[in-house]
Symmetry: C2
Subunit: 332 residues, 2 copies
């Protein structure tokens, strides 16, 4: 197994490079762009994010043999699209905070958050179109439309308590998997990968994205609010059914099933029910089962990389494997 710590040190240096390119973009835009808009972009982009998506694009590209520096610009496009999504999502979810500070819409208002998101959308698309061609743009845009489609699905699922595992996977693939898979796939295309390599990196990304979201959903129940910055059981309170609960329903006996259904039905009291629901999920093994699925997804992600021989790409493969393992260890 790879050393998670050394990988983290390596990617931190690369993430700083991504930030550098984003700063350069903002500086380039500065003379001809509205001051307030620039302030919003600066605030919303340069906030200590982990730059997972840009890094995936960069390392996917390198794993396919690319060595140029321009790939950081391509990476930035994925951060721009991700940030655009967050600007709009925080309005939609009425989220007060993001990465430990006020969300863009709370800080600058809804109008600025909508518009700045649209701006980043266009900046992201033009960057990908310029660097990764029509094919890269198509994948990028499909990830965007897929995310929106997933949000609509989620709006409908919010009132649905009997969500199946398959529906859950569809939803997290659209919400998180598509963009992460796109970062890997477009990176691979930019890097000149063969069709087989491009497919392998897309598979890696799709599995990684699913693992990432499953862990996110586990942290919602089990995370330390001081680290996650989120209230425990928030998904449950909002009526979102995630994997631990679905698997708990699958494993539970009749009595626990009835009790869970009753607890989910009482919308007003959901906050006070979090502990009891969490207790039932734990006792029937729902959390352990969900974690097992995240581990399996990470294993699938790593297995997809096997087609890349390690003797020429030891470092890049190591980083991508390390990122996959990191997903399982994260606590925020």
């Amino acid at each position: 197994m790879v050393q998670v710590k050394s990988v983290i040190a390596a990617v931190k240096a690369e993430a700083a490079k991504v930030d550098e390119y984003m700063r350069a973009d903002l500086a380039r835009l500065q003379p001809e762009t509205d001051e307030l808009l620039l302030e919003v972009l600066d605030y919303g982009l340069l906030n200590g994010g982990k730059r997972v998506r840009p890094l995936l694009a960069v390392f996917a590209s390198r794993l396919c043999g690319n060595k140029d520096e321009n790939v950081y610009r391509l990476g930035c496009a994925f951060e721009y699209l991700h940030a655009a999504t967050l600007f709009h999502d925080d309005i939609i979810d009425n989220s007060e905070t993001r990465r430990g500070k006020r969300s863009v819409y709370k800080q600058f208002g809804t109008i600025a958050a909508i518009l700045a998101g649209d701006y980043l959308h266009a900046l992201a698309m033009s960057t990908v179109g310029r660097l990764a061609g029509a094919k890269g743009l198509e994948i990028f845009c499909n990830a965007t439309t897929g995310m929106v489609d997933g949000e609509f699905m989620q709006l409908r699922n919010a009132t649905k308590h009997n969500l199946t595992e398959l529906e859950y996977y569809d939803a997290i693939m659209m919400k998180t998997g598509l963009l992460i898979a796109a970062a890997c796939e477009v990176g691979a295309i930019y890097g000149g990968g063969t069709p087989e390599q491009v497919k392998a990196l897309r598979d890696y990304g799709a599995n990684l994205g699913c693992a990432f979201q499953i862990i996110d959903d586990l942290l919602d129940y089990l995370g330390d609010p001081a680290k996650t910055g989120k209230v425990v059981g928030n998904d449950l309170v909002e009526g979102k059914v995630t994997l631990p609960l679905i698997l708990a329903f699958n494993c539970a006996g009749e009595r626990d099933k009835k009790r869970l259904a009753a607890l989910l039905g009482t919308k007003d009291k959901r906050s006070s029910n979090v502990q009891e629901v969490s207790g039932i999920i734990e006792s029937v093994g729902g959390f352990a089962a969900a974690r097992k699925e995240a581990v399996a997804a990470v294993e699938n992600a790593i297995a997809a990389l096997r087609i890349f021989p390690t003797h020429n790409n030891y470092y890049e493969r190591n980083v991508l494997e390390g990122l996959a393992h990191y997903v399982l260890t994260r606590d925020k």
Copy 2:
């Protein structure tokens, strides 16, 4: 001078064709797209719009010699982007109605309007990238970021009463001119136009866009609410300073200037002041001067087309000239 009526009949048939292609797009998306999202798109797109931007792309392309049918798909991209902008603008401006029915956000809510706008954004970008290449995409994205930039400028200008004519032209170029110019320019590129032809069509579009917006701003004071569907003097009430008012300030004597400044300062009473402000603008010739500038912009637009010899493109040039004249005659 061209016959406005015959041009309108011709473009109506072409607009119907654009609608046909949009319907085909929605039908193609239907199997894999959320039902509610499709309903929002259908509602927001197929609403009897005039399809000015798609038509400009189609006729600019044809004027450069293109004869294929795919150009309608390119045209649709401009309607998608335009609609995305309207979905978001109606949230921002809190507009209840659009083209005589409830705006998307009033009908389906803010969340659906934000998301459906994002969806159309991505659909528009991928279409342009696919059909008009990296150069076309760059122009398209620059129009998008420019529009956002213009909105931010407008947010700041809203509290500014001494807007200069130059600032006004900058603002309307960003708000309306850029996208109309982009439709013409990208259409010309798609049509295989020479650099000189592409530039001519961009100039045509930029002038047309400005004329379009000046007339819009005139209609805000002088239009028939039964036709425009808008309250008279809405811009004034919202604190937006437009060309008639700027020119009135330029022409007015000291007494009228002072009176105008006083009327503009009293925010709460602006609605009841509309008639008096309008009276002063009229008496000092502000409306006539603004209209003169719209006429000049239309003349510039038409002059830009002179490089296209009429013997091979009589029909296309005629339509584009007719569209320019139409801008001056519209009453809604």
